[in-house]
Symmetry: D2
Subunit: 321 residues, 4 copies
């Protein structure tokens, strides 16, 4: 459903072109200082406007509706809403199944009642709620530093050239984002089913466009031998010589950095000609998508990835006896 977490639980709601998007955060301890400014930094990191991102720019001012009093969390659920102001619904008037998007599945799953405007509830705009919850989650896991960054675009580390090429061709391009969480206590994660990898990956795959995740040496591990892969413990803190495990053994943090990478597919919305069906099952060819899009959605992923990582770790932190 639209909630995630056990003891630190976020519930997300909203549609791209509806009244607002928002999130309700339950299980936040009382006494954490939160001012409006706390949200600004990460919200602006998520914003579009840079090359390769959509020109749809919204003020994205978070309105706190509950759970914060005198600039501190109260222990009651925190609801934060962001109004949708810059919605150009005419772009989406005709319901055609945009290639790569959820339009087709949404139409079928919800029996024709889905809000189709801008992807409705499936829109990437909902990640704004994740970023807001992430700001609070980062304060809960406050000694842990979480940092995500793009490490590859279109298979290359020359990001600019890859993006320029995509823009020139009315096309889009994928990328890889790496996230490192450092200063990790030993013992986060719960066997059997709530391993750190399970909980983080569950949260990560809620971010639209993510198609893969790997921890530590990840898919490279499949080519390695045990002697190469085993991380030898060097002192009683649990520090290891190498970190092929990505800081996790048996699903539990071992005190070394949590490291993982995610694969971000190229933005599905492209201006280049494609073909598809519309709601009446008529073939539409050529299909040309009008609207404002990100040439490389991976560019906007890092702050969202940090947010869901913080949310996942905050939940695991609050599960300890």
């Amino acid at each position: 459903m639209n909630s995630f977490g056990t003891n630190f639980r976020v519930s997300i709601w909203g549609e791209s072109h509806g009244e607002a998007v928002g999130i309700t955060i339950d299980g936040c301890p009382p006494g954490i200082e939160i001012t409006d400014e706390c949200f600004s930094h990460d919200i602006s990191r998520r914003k579009s406007g840079a090359k390769g991102t959509t020109p749809r720019i919204e003020p994205d001012r978070p309105m706190v509706l509950s759970g914060i009093y005198n600039n501190h969390t109260t222990g009651a659920p925190i609801t934060v809403m962001v109004n949708n102001t810059n919605t150009r619904s005419k772009d989406y008037k005709d319901i055609t199944y945009r290639p790569g998007h959820s339009d087709f599945v949404a139409e079928k799953k919800y029996k024709g009642f889905t809000d189709p405007r801008g992807g409705g509830h499936f829109s990437g705009r909902l990640t704004l709620g994740l970023v807001i919850a992430g700001v609070i989650a980062k304060k809960i896991v406050n000694n842990i530093n979480i940092k995500a960054e793009i490490i590859e675009i279109g298979g290359s580390t020359d990001f600019d050239s890859a993006i320029n090429k995509a823009i020139e061709n009315n096309n889009s391009i994928g990328g890889i984002v790496e996230c490192i969480a450092s200063n990790i206590p030993v013992g986060l994660g719960e066997p059997f089913f709530d391993s750190v990898e399970s909980v983080i990956s569950h949260a990560v795959f809620s971010i639209p466009a993510i198609k893969g995740i790997e921890f530590g040496s990840g898919f490279e591990s499949a080519k390695m031998t045990g002697l190469q892969h085993n991380d030898l413990i060097v002192d009683k803190s649990g520090k290891t010589e190498t970190n092929n495990a990505g800081g996790i053994n048996g699903g539990i943090t071992n005190g070394n950095d949590i490291i993982f990478r995610v694969a971000v597919k190229p933005t599905s919305s492209i201006a280049a000609e494609q073909s598809t069906l519309n709601k009446k099952n008529n073939k539409i060819e050529p299909f040309k998508l009008i609207g404002r899009h990100d040439a490389c959605i991976a560019l906007r992923v890092p702050v969202v990835l940090e947010a869901v990582t913080a949310i996942a770790l905050a939940d695991l932190k609050q599960r300890a006896y």
Copy 2:
């Protein structure tokens, strides 16, 4: 915790060298035919004995304790237990943190009270419960075919030679397993947080040794353009020309095959010399591991991967209104 699923929920328990391992399956509809023979096939696929797998061979006879009456599920919780018979605990007498294993984190997380014998609750032996639940889950999603197989060992498709080399060197080797679920209805998966990828990956990372997962073109997507990656719909069933999405858009099944691959790290237990610490924080060097181990644990993953996929899909199936 040790439960997974909302409407079809499995709860796993047991230790490698304790009385038994088992699983309780809640939410199974009544009237599904289950005989002892139903379990045999998948349990024997999981068994060791082949080259590259541990010589620890146990009868692994499942005992149904509840929930099945007159060879049919009753709707009440099904508990199935498998006794541990072939436990050579003397192999594990001294508590040394075996490299790559959970011994260190288990000791710290559980404050010295963990059962250390054979990895205790962290042992791969617990996957027997997953296989048992998978047998039932496969019957629930009965029109869906789920098939997993090894596609690469040690970076190569010449599996024999990769395994032989590992055995010769007292070493181990990793591999990649691919799972394909076909004949999928449109509409499984729940936004925002219970996307098919989220739910499957959550379950998959509970299998020991898995370090990465990718859906459809996965990490390759990160190198692709939108024009290459977008799967064009060709008819009203939702069939697409290509299947880069791995059968999932916006977290929801689109009717095409669900395809994903997992990276399996090399078995941590190897006979080759390593170094580590023991429980008293003394350096142990050289450290030589005695016991019975799999040279390539990936060989035993396919049936377990099918099982957790079936469990995840059964849960999603039972969430529809």
Copy 3:
């Protein structure tokens, strides 16, 4: 936490004197017609203004923020917010632990960070969210009729005189509300822990001021013999001669009416003189409560009781395979 339900899940948020109160409803099937008018009837039933209820009258206009499009549910989470407009915070400036209220426990549990204004998150005003969710839940269980009414105030069926006496004495008075749900299918409820009684009582005790619940003949059962209490089945529909079980056997609906009664304590807020402590642990005597209060909060319970009953039954309905 602040969520209730498995497949039909409501998450409540807000404070009495904060920006707004609201609720998010997840798991609502698509295609249910909802207009603003749908909410009006039950919201106005909950409203104060009648004799025995607080003169705090607010417009209580529900604003739908998500999940409804073209006057139909979309299948996405529905968030409805009601602004707080008539908040007279000066009434609550000094933090004194009002007798019978949650002020003391809230202060301690949330380490001094609770929002104390009007009871904050503990306020009966939050039941507005329940009523809103109840309107939708009633549509989900649409063939079931749910009707609650006061059957006793202050131990008497002469409600007026009991209330008048309480008002004259600057006092308050308790009451009993009965709820009957009819046209019930056989088979709602889940063993072992989600019996109909368990799920309804869980929801009911979230309504402030409820101190007891009994199903069917309830506490009277404790005085009865088996011959008196057993309801004999008269036909294959499951209809029984008597309904001492309140429509529930073994936690499962048997097709007869679900009948239960709740005890509502007298409103804690009274103008009569009492004594208490303040936040600094100083004795305050006499303590006189200023503000606007209900002389008999039971008067406002029926519509809320119907709402939580509908919410509980909607959740149970959506759990069937």
Copy 4:
């Protein structure tokens, strides 16, 4: 479903005449000392054999299958099983809907696949698992004392005479059990939906035969005025002059004793003549029940009531940040 609890979670399974009944306990902290003897006292309190209880006497030896090592909890799930040894299935050969029992609803809900022997999964025998989990839960909430006792049978405090009369008439009789938990910390319970009353009542109504619950002055509150009912705080510990609230304000413990009472219906199984239908919808009249039964099931409720109270409080205790 068949699980209860968030951070301390019990999952129950088994049937009256199946192989075994049992329970899996997840979220138990490591290091709690548990020997076989720990279970004996409460299991023997639950046992039958006294006047008014069934002559079905079973050894009821708990077998620990997992989660306990060297007589201490390990932090892994604890599964405890009790074999069914004394099952006289011939008593239940013909499927007739016993009045007051779940036979009819079980048959319908599970489409004819339910295990009908002795009530199957609906049998009171499953409360054995609750008692076992209660033993562990009591150790988790170790400073809290939980004590339940019968206070009324058949409306009278002369228990013997009420029971004798029921036995003489081949009849059964109901009763009231009171539970007091003392030495309670301030702050257990979670708004909005997980009030102490909500969580306890949810667990309590899973005990077969319970038809009502009231906290503090309970249904008597409905007759009281605010001045009578409000408990005045007398010192900074939160101690109150009276305890009409039963130790709970706003759903949160206030440091005073938690007090509640439950109504236990008369045992449904009686030897006196009744009428009913069988599975083929034929009227059976007279219907005479053969088998071994409790004349007053309330006699066996206290230890089970303590157990579920301990389970509920253990879960709430482990939810604190």
